[in-house]
């Protein structure tokens, strides 16, 4: 909602407390004949003419909850409080609004009353607002129904459920299968058969690492003489240890952390150090950092005990979560800016960790959930007491720049020397190194030349070309020392290598005043910092007067007694692996969200998750080793007749891969993927300054051609790579726990025509042709195994043979065939 569009916002939204109190209406006193004459002659016609359209019981739509067609009406006031203070025009909102001096409060909204009309109303109020119109019943919207709210399933403590008994005990692998099978059996159905090993190895490898298995990995698994259980367990343990695991599952978390490398909105200034948080997340997943610690560090890492310097630094970087929000840097009102920042933090934390849409209570009591507006401001006080170090400030006046290194956290250890970085840095071949050095030298030369005015265009072209070549060599650290573009000069003074991080720190401890209708200027009561009332049955840690309260917030959030934290996380993991959450609305566990289809299973997983030390890897392991995960997608008509939507999980859901997994699979197929983590930021200082400004034609390189994993490409808000947008990458503006799956023609155009895909197909075809294989049939067999992890059917082989014989050019035919394989739905869907 646009809070600043104020001249129309009069009395619109609901501020609760005025309404909750009983409305007492004074009995109508007798009016003097003069008063009556004045009211009937002047006031009533004026009210009818200018006000009744929106403020009477006859109004099509009552505006602002204010009735002006009865004394009871105006005495009860509107949504934003008292409308008339009898005898005191200057204290009456009605008079203020018709005077048109307050741009937030102007009535009637479309035009101003004449001076004479205004003075009639002023005189009337001055007289004590004598009003003969009585007898109208005033009804008001009810407030929060706390009793009902408390009963909502998601606020009940997590209970350890008993494992249900099933008939077919041969089928179940682990406890969770009992929960799934018992429901299937209760519906009189049976589960689909298991997926074959070809499908299973592809599914589990892509699920855990975001990369397809190699042909030899497929072969090893398919021919493993061990039982299905043992063979799968072996593979899963290897995959969980792969660094690729964190790159995939870290990205899942980055979706809900609304991670981005630029601030977005009006002045889209990049975040040069956001990548440290990104790496923190990936590393945390890889080291299986317990989820409760993972959360606590992101909320209050700066306040937690650290074992050493590096640990402290890591915990500081973790708080980057709070600083990554999308802000409107062009917002000149500092208070508005701060409240918007807090709202981003509330909304992100609420939905990402608790599935609670706290942000809905910023302007009014939550419409669906038991979150009062005062609850919002109570918790918001914690963030108001926190300094958010995003490295950016809103512009007030025009002279200051948006990027402010002083508004960042300083790190003790220069990150480039960090062992974790050097371990993961590029290890180019010596050949490459020489070439990179050469290119870099040339680049420096060009940049020096570019300072003189001649030949700019040609130089630019060559610079772009060199950057592309460097990118292809996996070299992303290109940092011209000097800014080239005068217009962006102040913004470009960014030291990309500085030991700085986005983070949170303690601010001045303060309590926030409630804002009526969310308007910064209209302050209500100051609300002491606290956790939402609905959680009061938990042991809530008291908030200290000398600290922001983030430490306690983290403690509360990660408490075993918190009814939401573990449930929300296990549900996210389940949704990623099974295609749909047990609670389908993964970011909303409130009353407007979906109810769990398997509430006991949800609690079982949550309990087990906490019992096993909040280990995400253990949780994933237990799910992928279950029988449920292993099902094939086979359609069973009898089941479909009862449960077509597969809400019982009687078969595998067909799941489309995310943009990153599609792209990384393509890079793998073309033999182009470099699996090492590129060092530093995913962009260079030439990307500093407002990304929304101008066309930036010099930056024509499409980042998707870089040979790095997709998680390491820049995530500039509003400037995502075309391929990401087309394949439904998570909009990085807010929490996004479940991506959309669209099927639009630009996806087909990308696969059919994009030079990157064409290049991949050519390279993949060359790799297939390189194999020492006897004939086309065998090559086709290999191509299918290589691309889709399975062998072709007879019919498919025949089709491919015909296709390969349509023209004479063998290379081109094979490139077209492999491109067809990569364009097929099968390539981008998990079996």
């Amino acid at each position: 909602m646009n809070l600043r569009t104020s001249d129309r916002v009069i009395y619109l939204l609901i501020c609760s407390f005025a309404l909750l109190n009983g409305i007492s209406v004074a009995t109508a006193t007798e009016l003097s004949p003069d008063q009556l004459a004045f009211f009937e002659g002047k006031v009533r016609p004026l009210l009818i003419k200018h006000c009744y359209e929106c403020h009477s019981t006859e109004s099509k739509k009552l505006k602002g909850g204010l009735l002006l067609d009865s004394k009871e009406g105006w005495m009860a006031g509107g949504d934003s409080g008292e409308a008339i203070e009898a005898g005191n025009p200057n204290e009456s909102r009605l008079i203020e609004s018709v005077r048109y001096k307050n741009s937030h409060l102007q009535m009637p909204p479309k035009y101003q009353l004449s001076e004479a009309e205004i003075s009639v109303l002023e005189r009337w109020v001055q007289m004590g607002a004598p009003d003969p119109r009585t007898g109208t019943k005033v009804t008001k919207a009810p407030g929060i129904d706390w009793e009902k709210g408390k009963k909502h399933w998601a606020f009940q403590p997590v209970a350890r459920p008993t494992i249900p008994v099933v008939k077919n005990t041969n089928w179940t692998q682990g406890d969770l299968d009992h929960f799934v099978l018992s429901k299937i059996e209760a519906a009189g159905l049976r589960p689909a058969p298991d997926a074959d090993r070809f499908a299973l190895i592809r599914r589990v490898t892509l699920d855990l690492t975001g990369l397809p298995p190699t042909v030899s990995e497929v072969g090893a698994f398919v021919h493993d003489s061990a039982s299905d259980d043992e063979a799968l367990a072996k593979v899963v343990d290897v995959l969980l240890q792969s660094p690729s695991f964190g790159e995939r599952w870290g990205r899942h978390w980055l979706d809900v952390a609304r991670y981005a490398d630029s601030v977005g909105k009006t002045r889209n200034i990049p975040f040069p150090y956001a990548w440290r948080y990104r790496n923190y997340v990936i590393d945390a997943l890889n080291s299986d950092k317990p989820y409760n610690e993972f959360l606590a560090e992101q909320v209050a890492g700066d306040l937690l005990n650290a074992t050493d310097k590096q640990d402290r630094e890591e915990k500081l970087i973790a708080t980057g979560l709070l600083a990554l929000g999308s802000m409107d840097l062009n917002e000149r009102d500092s208070e508005q800016f701060q409240l918007d920042r807090i709202d981003d933090q509330m909304d992100t934390l609420g939905r990402a960790t608790m599935g609670l849409t706290l942000g809905c209570a910023r302007c009014h009591d939550h419409k669906f959930d038991p979150i009062a507006q005062s609850d919002y401001y109570a918790m918001a006080g914690v963030f108001a007491s926190t300094a958010t170090l995003s490295g950016q400030q809103n512009r007030q006046g025009g002279s200051k720049q948006y990027h402010q290194p002083s508004l960042l956290a300083k790190l003790d250890i220069p990150p480039s020397t960090k062992p974790s970085d050097s371990k993961k840095s590029n290890t180019p071949t010596s050949n490459n190194e020489a070439q990179i050095a050469k290119l870099k030298n040339r680049l420096k030369q060009l940049q020096a030349e570019a300072k003189s005015k001649n030949n700019r265009a040609r130089l630019k072209a060559e610079v772009t070309q060199i950057r592309q070549q460097l990118a292809k060599l996996g070299e992303t650290e290109i940092r011209p020392a000097q800014a080239k573009n005068k217009k962006n000069a102040p913004e470009e003074a960014i030291d990309m290598d500085a030991a700085l991080a986005m983070a949170a720190a303690e601010g001045r401890v303060t309590n926030l005043a409630l804002r009526v209708r969310g308007e910064p200027d209209i302050k209500g009561d100051v609300v002491p910092r606290a956790f939402p009332t609905i959680f009061s049955r938990m042991q809530l840690p008291p908030l200290p007067s000398r600290e922001s309260g983030r430490r306690e917030l983290a403690e509360w959030l990660t408490s075993r007694d918190h009814p939401l934290t573990a449930r929300v996380m296990v549900n996210r993991v389940w949704a990623h692996l099974l295609g749909r959450g047990l609670v389908e609305t993964v970011d909303n566990f409130g009353a407007s969200g979906a109810a769990p289809t398997h509430p006991e299973l949800l609690d079982h997983l949550a309990t087990q998750f906490m019992d096993e030390g909040w280990s995400v890897k253990s949780l994933i392991r237990s799910i992928v080793l279950s029988r449920t995960y292993r099902l094939s997608g086979q359609q069973l008509p009898a089941n479909a007749a009862v449960d077509e939507a597969n809400s019982l999980y009687w078969r595998a859901n067909l799941r489309r891969l995310e943009a990153e997994a599609i792209r990384d699979s393509l890079l793998t197929a073309g033999g182009m993927l470099q699996t090492d983590r590129p060092a530093g930021a995913p962009f260079d200082s030439s990307d500093a300054g407002d990304l929304g400004k101008g066309n930036r034609k010099g930056k024509a390189e499409d980042p998707i051609v870089r040979p790095v994993r997709s998680v390491y490409l820049p995530v500039f808000r509003s400037k995502l790579p075309g391929m990401f947008t087309v394949f439904d990458f998570a909009e990085p503006d807010q929490v996004n726990g479940q991506r959309d799956v669209t099927t639009v023609p630009p996806q087909a155009l990308f696969l059919l025509n994009n030079p990157f895909v064409v290049d991949v197909a050519k390279r993949a075809a060359a790799r297939i042709l390189e194999q020492n294989l006897p004939d086309e049939k065998t090559r086709i067999r290999f191509a299918y195994a290589y691309s889709l992890c399975r062998y072709p059917t007879e019919a498919e082989t025949e089709r491919a043979l015909i296709f390969l014989n349509e023209t004479k050019d063998k290379q081109s035919n094979w490139a077209a065939l492999t491109q067809a394989l990569y364009s097929s739905a099968e390539f981008r869907y998990l079996p």
């Binding site: 909602m1 600043r4 569009t5 104020s6 001249d7 129309r8 619109l12 939204l13 001096k101 909204p109 479309k110 035009y111 101003q112 909105k265 009006t266 409107d328 062009n330 918007d340 849409t357 809905c360 749909r580 389908e584 609305t585 970011d587 909303n588 407007s592 969200g593 077509e644 859901n653 067909l654 929304g692 400004k693 066309n695 509003s718 947008t725 909009e731 479940q738 959309d740 799956v741 099927t743 639009v744 023609p745 630009p746 996806q747 087909a748 155009l749 990308f750 059919l752 025509n753 498919e796 089709r799 349509e806 023209t807 490139a815 077209a816 065939l817 067809a820 364009s823 739905a825 099968e826």
Partner: protein, 466 residues
């Protein structure tokens, strides 16, 4: 449409996609009133299939001529004799608002009554003013923010602060498209400010997002196949589709796979339809001349306008063309002259063509920027004006609005709208009304609540309805 809320039991987009058996989730919505689907195969209804609005709207499509930067209403379409009379007068900072202070700068161009209606239009628009009797000047425009980015995004999406679907996406969501070989919403040369937000679909299904056409970059991304002959590509697509159908056989009725198959066919057709519709070579030289495509000053915008006409004729629902550079803090006279020269003749040609084809009656043409400019001189240079969001002008033509009308007004000197005020949400409410929608009922459920283009605001400017 007001039954949307009841129709959708699933609460997420993905949920809808998965649980609706009949194809795409929003098919349920389409099916409420769907016309016969024109050009798609039997058992599949495209999300872009034409849909009936709430009531019969006069406008069937929109062409939005976006003038980014804040064109001066005071020198073009809002005649203020008092401003002329009070030239040089110093205004006080009333209410402590420094924006209200400064020296008044008279209109810099001559105004004259035009057409039978006698609409006052300045000498900057000699060609457009020939269609004065078709124009409905909205002189009472105002918006909440005086900064370009916020105001631009708000104009397109209704919200300056949040990522929301653009009005073109809402329009296409509501009405579908009349041509199944083309996207329903196309934006030509979109401005950088606000970026993809200006034509994004946000939480609406991606089918409704604007497809961008970049004239310099050669049109739509990846629209051309450069490595296979057409026949060879067809045979490649046949191979892909056979694989897709095999997969669909294993997952009968799967809406996503159904969608994949359809998307390849539409993509294949777009490779021909898009370049064809954007190819101006088939136009007569006289037409190109009328649009000014043969002259440097008008070439770029003329090309956009002619393309817009061709897209409109082809059944595209929402077409936007853009012209940047209306931010005249200085060089008011020369820059404004140059800008108006660039757009005047092309716009007139567009209006003429629409009239000749009897399409103006159901095509809403909307002209304007994100805000206007101040009556005060920028820096007493006599040649610049500041931003002004509290009063400015847009105009509409066709699509069910009264022609030859001046609706709303700014105060005497043109700084603040005082009559017939139209804010951003009111503008959107009015456009949706013209298209046949009750703006309070064109909703989409997302993240647990129903969203509208107009949020909780918006009043239709009923007085301008023909």
């Amino acid at each position: 449409m007001n039954t949307c809320r009841n129709t959708f039991t699933a609460v997420t987009r993905r949920g809808m996609l998965q649980t609706t058996a009949a194809g795409f989730g929003w098919l349920a919505f389409a099916a409420l009133n769907a016309e016969k689907v024109l050009a798609t195969p039997e058992d599949f209804a495209s999300p872009l299939a034409p849909k009936q609005p709430h009531f019969t709207g006069k406008a069937k499509r929109v062409i939005f001529l976006f003038m980014q930067g804040g064109p001066s209403h005071l020198d073009t379409f809002d005649w203020k004799p008092e401003l002329k009379a009070n030239h040089g007068k110093t205004m006080s900072n009333s209410d402590g608002d420094k924006r209200k202070g400064g020296t008044l700068l008279a209109p810099q161009f001559q105004f004259e009554p035009k057409g039978k209606s006698g609409l006052q239009i300045s000498s900057l628009f000699p060609e457009v003013s020939r269609y004065a009797d078709d124009l409905c000047l909205l002189n009472g425009m105002h918006t909440s923010n005086a900064a370009h980015p916020q105001a631009t995004i708000a104009l397109h999406t209704g919200s300056a602060n949040f990522v929301r679907p653009s009005m073109g996406a809402w329009t296409t969501y509501g009405l579908g498209s009349e041509n199944q070989d083309l996207p329903g919403f196309i934006t030509i040369n979109p401005v950088g400010l606000g970026g993809a937000q200006n034509y994004g679909s946000s939480f609406l299904p991606a089918s409704y997002q604007g497809t961008r056409v970049d004239l310099e970059a050669g049109g739509i991304a990846d629209i051309r196949n450069r490595h296979l002959t057409f026949g060879r590509q067809r045979s490649q697509i046949d191979l892909i589709q056979e694989m897709n159908r095999d997969l669909l056989d294993k997952h009968p009725g799967n809406p996503e796979l159904d969608g994949v198959i359809q998307s390849f066919e539409l993509a294949y057709r777009m490779q021909t339809s898009v370049p064809t519709v954007l190819d101006l070579k088939t136009e007569k030289s006289g037409t190109l001349e009328r649009y000014g495509i043969n002259q440097e000053a008008t070439q770029e915008f003329g090309t956009q306008c002619l393309m817009a006409r061709r897209l409109a004729e082809s059944g595209v629902r929402f077409i936007q063309v853009s012209k940047k550079g209306w931010d005249q803090h200085n060089n008011l006279k020369s820059a404004l002259t140059e800008n108006c020269l660039a757009v005047d003749q092309p716009i007139a040609a567009l209006l003429q063509d629409l009239k000749e084809r009897d399409m103006l009656k159901d095509t809403l043409v909307l002209w304007g920027g994100e805000f206007g400019r101040s009556p005060q001189d920028q820096a007493n240079s006599g040649d610049g004006r500041r931003h002004n969001n509290s009063g400015y002008t847009m105009w509409m033509a066709g699509g069910g609005v009264k022609g030859g009308m001046r609706y709303g007004a700014t105060d005497e000197t043109g700084g603040t709208s005082v009559l017939g005020k139209i804010g951003t949400h009111d503008l959107h409410a009015t456009i949706l009304h013209l298209l046949g929608f009750d703006h309070t009922k064109l909703t989409y459920r997302y993240a647990g609540r129903d969203f509208r283009l107009t949020d909780v605001y918006g009043e239709v400017a009923k007085e301008i309805l023909a």
